[in-house]
Amino acid sequence: MIDSRTDITAVEERVVAAFMDRLRTAPLPVSPRMPGADVLWLKARLIRQWDAQRKVRRPIELMEPLELAAGVMAAGLLLAWALPSAFEWIPRLIF
């Protein structure tokens, strides 16, 4: 008795193989719309270039917010340091 789940007879195996062969040679209802090898080559080169650029830019991009934060902090400190003496100077300049 054949296990209907997985076991197949030799005849059935031939039928399956013949079916797959028929499928292999059956014309496709659609055609591939793929680029030519030269286009793909160019695309790969561009992707490689972009990747390389991204790799070089990454540390700069990472440092940008840190630089900004450090700048703001320095400006704040400078302001805190200069503000008391500025308050002393402003009345003298006005009067």
């Binding site: 209907s4 997985t6 399956v16 193989a17 499928l23 591939p32 719309r33």
Partner: protein, 163 residues
């Protein structure tokens, strides 16, 4: 990395067969276009095997992985994709063949295609589909049995022989 000339030759030689495999498994020409393009582009991202046959298997493996990724994303659309066949059909038998095959699950289609059309060994198929080598034999038997059941149910078990 591949030289331009070697890549061009390899692409010309194998792009069509990879496309046909992907198309038969996904049943979607646009997906097949994207996947094949992506698979060949990946050849530039890593060190690839130098011998042609290994490189061919490698492309099939990448394509298999990309198909698997898309299955996960497109499980819901699967049924709809099965019906996406355009009107320029060749022969009634060919349509029957394609439709019968499309009734199988994507993984079953991939297993059968790699085994019968590409002539892959269990090891090759396991590699292409990210399966354990031991599972391939069992899954392939099940896929074969499913196809047999479909052929029997549709009364087209002689389809392969009556050209």
């Amino acid at each position: 990395m591949l030289a331009e000339h070697a890549f061009g030759e390899f692409y010309q030689r194998h792009a069509r067969s990879v496309w046909t495999y992907v198309y038969r498994v996904t049943n979607d020409a646009a997906d097949a276009d994207d996947i094949v393009q992506e698979a060949f582009l990946r050849l530039f991202q890593t060190d690839v095997p130098s011998d042609n046959e290994a490189l061919r298997r490698y492309v099939f493996r990448i394509a298999g992985n990309l198909i698997a990724d898309r299955w996960r994303r497109k499980v819901r659309d699967e049924r709809q994709a099965h019906e996406a066949v355009d009107g320029r059909e060749p022969q009634a038998h060919d349509i029957d063949v394609a439709r019968t095959f499309a009734e199988l699950k994507p993984r079953e289609r991939a297993l059968l295609w790699l085994a019968y059309v590409e002539g892959g060994t269990h090891a090759d198929i396991a590699e292409s589909l990210r399966l354990a080598r031991g599972s391939v034999k069992v899954l392939l038997s099940r896929a074969r049995a499913r196809l047999r059941d479909l052929l029997t149910a549709r009364g087209i078990e002689r389809l392969g022989n009556d050209r």
